[in-house]
């Protein structure tokens, strides 16, 4: 027993000393920092500790070199900034990206990351920015505001990025973008479609068509083709994106003289919708309008069909439907789901087919709208940087605001005065598990 206790104590002390030395190393003290032998007991663990110091020392050295390199790069970039007019971009241009790679929105983030990585590779290889290279620093916001804010802080304060792509969710963007606006760092949202995003400030842009410009088009066109009069509405009432989608739907339905029989709500991450759907079924609507992310939408569709809601009652939705995951999760129940979209896989817009091919070859699945908008976002940023010839945030901001009718895979693309995107939305329907144009 006593021997064991002693062993435990020694190893605990060793751990403590290792911790102290690591902390010191992290604080930036140089390799020379000796292990503070504050307690006599510490010497007992000297051998272990010595090993630890060496390791910690090595880490510090490595860290210093790396950070030195970064500083150098940053300086170069800053140097380029001063000589803005000369348009001689060199070195690394640090750009941040914040995606929801884990958590509730993890079906969107990874395809955005893939597409953005691909675009950066292409731009760096093509020499579009001369000898300069974009250095994309990706952070995961875990689909929550609490993850987004530290990610923005790190990118802005530590990595000194000149622009940030993302974040994936509108509700996160509402919390994070003021941080960037404060520090005058450009944010380009590539999937934020809720209201109130660009209103945060003049450094906030987006290339994703807001619900407000897609949904009225969706309602008008589907009402003409399907001729519905009474609909039921479902939406998630705890998410900025689905809530604002619902607001726009409600206004568009009212404007088109469609009667809303009932409005049912659910929460993000809910898995059971049978109570709401039973109520909807008993009211016999002509169509069901759903403002939800694809995961919940898939659950709603499959449970609706399980409850025997006839397939003549179509599900109509917003941007959340525009994910390949929808058909994958809901299977046959997703058939005939209609949604407005900013991008369509078979579009023949400039470079779109090449993008689809390259993406499919590289990642093994076809890209979705989220991938397309992220890919276009990188090119839009790169074009703005190229036009201004400077890698500083204010210059990029001014250059972005001036972009007019540039060719992207989303079509001819401009920003309007409020930094919202301008291009034509389309309408798509799921047929055999794939999106087709709704005609």
């Amino acid at each position: 027993m006593t021997i064991k206790r002693g062993f435990l104590k020694v190893s605990l002390l060793a751990a403590l000393v290792m911790l102290v030395s690591l902390v010191l190393a992290a604080c930036g003290d140089n390799t020379a920092t000796p292990v503070p032998a504050t307690t006599a007991a510490a010497t007992k663990a000297a051998t272990t500790a010595a090993g630890a110091t060496t390791a910690a020392g090595a880490t510090t050295a490595a860290a210093t070199t790396a950070s030195g390199a970064t500083t150098a790069a940053a300086t170069t970039a800053a140097g380029a900034t001063t000589a803005a007019a000369a348009s001689t971009l060199t070195g690394d241009i640090p750009i941040g990206a914040v995606w929801s790679l884990t958590g509730g929105a993890a079906i969107y983030g990874p395809s955005q990351k893939n597409a953005a990585d691909m675009a950066v590779d292409e731009i760096n290889k093509s020499g579009m920015l001369g000898t300069a290279k974009i250095k994309l620093i990706t952070e995961d916001d875990r689909s929550v505001k609490e993850g987004g804010i530290p990610a923005f802080d790190k990118l802005i304060n530590q990595d000194k990025v000149v622009a940030i792509l993302g974040p994936t969710l509108s509700s996160t963007a509402l919390a994070t973008n003021p941080v960037a606006q404060d520090k005058k760092v450009v944010v380009l949202g590539v999937s934020n479609t809720a209201g109130g995003i660009v209103e945060i400030g003049n450094y906030v842009f987006r290339d994703s068509l807001p619900e407000a410009s897609v949904i009225p088009n969706t309602v008008k066109a589907t009402k003409e083709k399907l001729g519905y009069k009474n609909v039921a509405v479902m939406y998630g009432d705890d998410d900025a994106f689905t809530k604002s989608g619902y607001d726009v739907f409600k206004k568009a339905l009212d404007d088109n003289g469609v009667k809303i029989l009932t409005t049912e709500t659910f929460k993000k991450g809910d898995t059971d919708f049978s109570a709401q759907l039973t109520k909807i079924k008993s009211l016999n609507p002509d169509a069901i309008i759903v403002s939800a992310l694809a995961e919940e939408a898939a659950g709603i569709m499959s449970q609706g069909r399980q409850l025997g809601i006839p397939t003549t009652v179509k599900f109509i939705g917003g941007n959340g439907f525009n994910s390949a995951q929808l058909a994958k999760l809901a299977g046959a129940a997703a058939e005939d789901a209609i949604s407005g979209a900013a991008w369509f896989i078979s579009n023949d817009a400039n470079g779109n087919q090449n993008f689809v091919k390259a993406y499919t070859a590289k990642y093994g699945t076809a890209p979705d709208q989220f991938a397309a908008q992220a890919y276009a976002g990188v090119y839009i940023l790169a074009t703005a940087i190229k036009n201004t010839g400077a890698a500083n945030s204010t210059a990029i901001r001014d250059s972005l605001a001036k972009l007019k009718d540039i060719d992207t895979i989303l079509g001819k693309f401009s920003f309007d005065d409020t930094r919202n995107p301008v291009h034509t939305p389309i309408l798509q329907i799921v047929k055999n598990g794939k999106f087709e144009l709704f005609k």
Partner: protein, 351 residues
């Protein structure tokens, strides 16, 4: 009124699924007086065990459900040995087990090259196995201790986070679903105005069968008698020669197996399995076992049906935004009126 029969059906099958989850929860509480907050994670792992059996091994569902139950049951035993037992009695085997577990984690999490990674994982697993056996054989523990009541609960939160992170690392953060056609989707007409999907019927039938089997086990078998004896008084049971640790392991196995079945069935029914799926049901399950009376099995069953029905009917006739508010309102009401739960008894007579 037109929708009432259908809403009742919705409430009943959901109640059955919730009951399956909550019974295992309450079983462990009744025996050890600990709230195992990792029960939700066990449930999630059960769903993934079933998922792997169906998608990777191409087993039929009838084979996948028992496999998932066994997998989740063994996981629950491991959980007990890692998070709860060392708090009660520390043995050398327990320390070895922990060492192996850390090596295993290091192997899974770290970015190692291939041979090294599998060596670490393999070594970790073997050391863990040795630890379990050694722990089981130990006659004289290093330490028997009284820990504060909260300690096991906090340990279970930690275990739950580890299990969720592990599954995120292994299966990814994306939502998965059982392949379409695992169970038919065609709704079955029950009475006019009420249909039930085959998968929901499956949940109901398996749920009821498993609960009856558990009841039989607890009331009629030697194991059940031992469980009840330990729940009544652990010290006396030890003196009477009951192998308390073994019975506790069996109880954890039962609890985990029920959670595993619930995971597969609910994953099938709502077509969604992901690493965090345990979180929601865990809160609902906690409500159920408190309302039913901590430790009371039939209380948990009755409360599960009550909560399921309340969730469904509050959406049907009141407002869908307030569904959870009604459920937790019930929880507070029960705590005010009858703090030991609807079917609860004092801990001195629980069994």
């Amino acid at each position: 009124m037109e929708q009432l029969p259908q809403q009742l059906v919705n409430g009943i099958w959901q109640g059955a699924a919730l009951a399956l989850f909550a019974v295992g929860y309450t079983l462990v509480f009744g025996l050890l007086d600990i709230v195992n907050l990792a029960h939700g994670a066990t449930y999630m792992w059960g769903a993934f065990f079933g998922f792997v059996c169906v998608t990777k091994l191409n087993w039929s569902l009838w084979l996948a459900i028992p496999a998932a139950m066994i997998g989740a049951g063994l996981l629950a035993i491991l959980l007990d040995r890692l998070a709860f037992k060392p708090l009660r009695t520390l043995t050398r085997g327990g320390l070895v087990l922990w060492g192996g577990f850390l090596i295993l984690l290091l192997g899974i999490v770290g970015k190692w090259d291939d041979p090294l990674k599998w060596t670490l994982i393999g070594a970790g697993a073997i050391i863990m196995l040795v630890g379990v056996v050694q722990d089981y054989l130990t006659k004289v523990p290093l330490q028997v201790r009284q820990v504060p009541h909260l300690a096991p609960m906090i340990a279970s939160i930690g275990a739950s986070i580890i299990l969720i992170s592990l599954s995120q690392g292994i299966f990814g953060a994306q939502v998965a679903r059982f392949p379409p056609g695992t169970v038919s989707d065609e709704p079955i007409q029950l009475v006019s105005g009420a249909v039930i999907a085959p998968v929901q019927l499956l949940v109901l039938v398996i749920g009821v069968v498993l609960m009856l089997a558990l009841n039989f086990l607890i009331t009629r078998t030697q194991v059940g008698r031992a469980i009840r004896a330990i729940a009544f008084n652990e010290r006396t049971s030890r003196l009477l020669g009951i192998n308390v640790d073994f019975v506790i392991a069996q109880t954890f196995f039962l609890s985990g197996a029920l959670a595993g079945a619930a995971g597969v069935l609910l994953g099938l029914a709502v077509r969604r399995i992901d690493a965090t799926m345990g979180n929601d049901v865990e809160l609902a399950g906690l409500t159920v076992i408190i309302v039913g009376g901590m430790g009371s099995i039939w209380g948990a069953v009755a409360a599960a049906f009550l909560v399921g029905m309340l969730r469904v009917l509050s959406v049907a006739y009141l407002d869908s935004s307030f569904r959870d508010a009604f459920v937790f309102g019930l929880l507070i009401l029960v705590l005010l009126v009858r703090p030991s739960g609807l079917f609860g008894r004092g801990s001195s007579t629980r069994a």
